[in-house]
Each structure stands twice: as structure tokens, then as C-alpha cells.
Symmetry: C2
Subunit: 146 residues, 2 copies
DNA sequence: GCATTAATTGAGACTTTGTCTCAATTATAT
DNA sequence: ATATAATTGAGACAAAGTCTCAATTAATGC
């Protein structure tokens, strides 16, 4: 997986620097829900001089290449850089009370994607399907608390 | 529509203050893609003393009541408080190059929603389906620019 | 290997977003 | 009208994200 990304970077004429490689390593092993701040922290464990600017620059670069997708950037609490490098689409449930995320695999948008793409002349690179509501736990709490 | 919201607010025991009404008015007329900053600016045109804190507090209140949903908060450029007070679900295409958003109406998640809800014990209140890629215009540009 | 060169980097100033506290205001019920 | 508790604005604060610029470094050709 990392190799694919590295290839695509080089194809597009970008350098393979140490700070970049550190970010990529973090992304590869860190799952799909890391915040930029977390990526920075983990990246500095690999390459201590890594700077915030470089994290953002690298994320932007990968976004432009269609290799990942930032979801809900900026949220202070549950800030999530949702990395969808493994799939074309990304799917989860999000609890609006505790902020937990539960991913799921089913994808039901294939046909719709084709329709929209044709109708609107849009070149679709991926998608995000997010359900939001109350998770099993928060569903119980909610009534007691309020 | 505004009346429904006002009713629900009062039912839940919240006051009908001027700053709140200003925010509601903005939301009603401003479409579904306003950022908190835009809501503040437009709100101050109606009620000049309106403060940022109140905008956020009102948005949070409405979220808790399930009346709207913030999407991608915090993004500096295309910051979007996606107000989905009109529908259970919200659907759009997002251009990763120019940031434009094209809404669409088709909803294909009904069955999946039921399945997931049952399987995971999640009380689903709404959903966001977002396709991302290049819009018609940017699709052309892209090659020229780069 | 070594030099050249243009891409990339880190530092840190800066802007914007979002949160919090507290004293002053105000909607509501009586 | 008064009492009371919710709500407010101001402004301090914290965190996220952007930008500039001089210094570094990966790639290319020798
Ligand atoms: Zn996710
Ligand atoms: Zn929860
Ligand atoms: Zn939308
Ligand atoms: Zn576009």
C-alpha cells in the first residue's frame, strides 16, 4: 500500500523526503481516523524535526492526488483526518453525543455514483457516507442525564 | 418552517430571544451551506449586538434538538455549516479543486439504515452522503494548469 | 562521488475558529 | 411590576490552519 503511494508521488514528480515518508508511515499504520495533530505527534516520533506545516502540506498533496480525504477537519474535540486511502468510499456511524465512530463495510452508492457522474459531468473520486445519531450506550444515558 | 423550529424550542423550554431569532432567520433564508462566520455576519445585519458565542451556542442547541447538522465545521476556506433542517438526509457532490457544492435529491440509504440500526443498536437521526471529485469546470482546467 | 538546482523544509508570526467565564441583560411566569 | 433563572456580549483564551522566508535536501547530470 505504501509502495503504491510512493509510486504515485514519484510519477507526479514529487520528491521522497524523510518528513514526507514519516507522515506516510503514520498514515499507513494509524488507521483511518487520525487528526492532523495526532499525525504530527506520531510523525515526530519517527522524524523529530517534523513540523506542523509539513503535515498539512503533505495531507494537501495526498488529497490532490486523490489518495486521502480529510473529513471534519478542524473539529476541536473529535477532529478527524479520515484517511480513505484503502477504499474508494468511506462509511461510518458517528455518535453525536460521545463522538465515537463505528465503521461499516456495506456500500450502496455504486449505481447512484454512475448516474450523477453522467448527469453532472462530475469526475467522482470517492465518497463519504456518514450516519449520525446515538450509539448503543449514549441511547441509554441520554434519558437519565437529561 | 421557522414556526416549527420556534415551537420545538419552546416545547423544550427554551426562550425566544432576539439573538436566537436572528440566527434562525438567517438559517431559514440562507440555504443549507452557511459557515458559522457567515451566520454571524448576516445575523449582525439583523441584530447588530449578536456575538460569536451566541451563534455557536444556538447552533449547538439546534443540533441537540436534531434540527440541524454541522458538516465540516472549522474548515477555513470552505467552512460549511451544513444545515439539514429540511431533510433527514443530506446529499451533495463536493469539488476538491474549487470547493463548489452540488446538491442532489436521490436517497439510496433507507434499507441500509435499517440494517445498521438493528445490527449495532444505533439510533440513527440522519445521514450525510458526499461524493467528492472534480466538477465539470475543474476537470477541464486541471490539465491546463498543471 | 560531486556539484547544481529547484523542490521542500522548519521556525515562527499570524489569522481564524471555537471555547469559556462572568457580570449584565432579558424573557417568562407569577 | 417583580422575581428568577436562562441567556447574552465581551473579551480572554486555546487550538487549528496558513503563510513567508531563509536554510536544507533530494534528484539529476556530470
Ligand atoms: Zn470514517
Ligand atoms: Zn455515543
Ligand atoms: Zn450539503
Ligand atoms: Zn470545481
Amino acid at each position: 500500500m505504501l509502495e503504491t503511494i510512493v509510486e504515485r508521488l514519484q510519477e507526479a514528480g514529487h520528491r521522497l523526503t524523510k518528513p514526507r515518508m514519516a507522515v506516510l508511515q503514520v498514515l499507513e499504520t494509524g488507521g483511518e481516523h487520525l487528526s492532523p495533530a495526532e499525525i504530527l505527534a506520531r510523525g515526530q516520533a519517527i522524524y523529530p524535526a517534523l513540523s506542523r506545516a509539513t503535515v498539512y502540506r503533505t495531507l494537501e498533496l495526498l488529497s490532490e492526488l486523490g489518495l486521502l480525504r480529510l473529513i471534519h477537519p478542524g473539529e476541536q474535540r473529535s477532529s478527524v483526518a479520515c484517511v480513505a486511502m484503502h477504499h474508494h468510499g468511506h462509511h461510518h456511524l458517528l455518535c453525536i453525543h460521545c463522538g465515537c465512530m463505528i465503521p461499516f463495510e456495506e456500500c450502496v452508492v455504486g449505481e447512484l455514483e454512475a448516474t450523477l457522474s453522467q448527469r453532472l459531468g462530475f469526475e467522482i473520486k470517492g465518497h463519504l457516507l456518514e450516519f449520525y445519531g446515538l450509539c448503543k450506550e449514549c441511547r441509554g444515558h441520554q434519558k437519565v442525564e437529561q
